[in-house]
Structure formats: structure tokens, C-alpha cells
Symmetry: C2
Subunit: 97 residues, 2 copies
């Protein structure tokens, strides 16, 4: 699944509503989905775990669109397949603990 295309798809469907709602309001929706993800991770048999992960990706894409960030480019830049610093694939020197 192409993340860049997905962000465009979300922007096409929701940009108008997302922008009207604004950054803070859209962040609240994102947080609501993050909370539902926590709930589903804790009791996956009672929730739609797959759907909650999907909603988090979708709201992250909405937020990135409002903020003018290309989610795919940002992710590739910070987590390149082959790191320009350590030369490893995957990189062994990035900051993710």
C-alpha cells in the first residue's frame, strides 16, 4: 500500500472537513482513535483491532495533510531502508529505542 497515494486519497475525501475543523480538533479525533486502539490492543477479541490501526493511519494522514507534511517523505527521510550514516539496511544508528 502506497502511503503517499493513501494520504492523497484521504485529502481528496476529507481535506475540506479536516481544514474546517482545524488542526487541534483533528488532533482530538486522532487521539480518540489512539484511545480506541489502546482498548482494542487490551481486549482484541471484543474490538476491531485491524480497524483501529487503520483509523490511526487515516487520522495521521489527515493531520499531516493539514500540517502540510508528506507523511511518506517524512517517514522515508527518518527511516531510510539503507542508512546514509551507518550504511546498514536496516539502519542501526537511528534514534528509535
Amino acid at each position: 500500500m502506497d502511503l503517499r497515494e493513501f494520504q492523497k486519497q484521504i485529502a481528496k475525501a476529507y481535506r475540506e472537513k479536516d481544514r474546517a475543523r482545524g488542526l487541534a480538533g483533528t488532533f482530538m479525533y486522532f487521539m480518540e482513535e489512539v484511545g480506541e486502539l489502546a482498548e482494542a490492543l487490551r481486549e482484541p477479541e471484543k474490538h476491531d483491532l485491524e480497524g483501529e490501526f487503520a483509523d490511526c493511519v487515516a487520522w495521521l494522514a489527515s493531520l499531516a495533510d493539514i500540517a502540510g507534511i508528506d507523511l511518506a517523505a517524512a517517514t522515508e527521510k527518518k527511516y531510510p531502508g539503507t542508512c546514509p550514516v551507518c550504511g546498514q539496511s536496516p539502519c542501526i544508528c537511528i534514534s528509535k529505542p
Copy 2:
């Protein structure tokens, strides 16, 4: 950027650490990044907004890996380009407000 490949890349680099830390501990790291994203959205000139978005995607991929969820498949399923229900592209009937 292919989200499925990215999840594999993250799993290759971090699965061992992520699993040892466990689901709850990894969720806490994800939340830490979500908090940093909020901070960067509020004052983008003082933070690495792109990097914070990237970290959220990366930790979401780690969480999905631990939970046995294919993030790309989950997202495509819930947010298909052309909706099998309404027949529209983008779908106009899915639940995202």
C-alpha cells in the same frame, strides 16, 4: 512509500527489542511520540515536525508487528480506494467523520 515494506523494515530492525519490551511498553513509546507530535504541531518552528510524524508511523508499525496486524492490509480494508458499498472513489460512506 510502501507501508507493507516499511512495516517489514521496522520488524527486521526492531522486532526483537519490541517483543522483549512487550505490547504495553511499546504502546507507551508510541504515546511518547504522539505527545511529541502534539508539541511539534503546536510550535513547528521549534521542533522537527516531519520527524515526529515519521516516529508515529514507525511506532505504529512496531505496535502492529507485535499485535500481528498487517498495517497496510488493515488500512486498505477499511479505507479502500473504491468503496465496495457506495461504489465511490474515495468512499463517501465510511465512518471517518
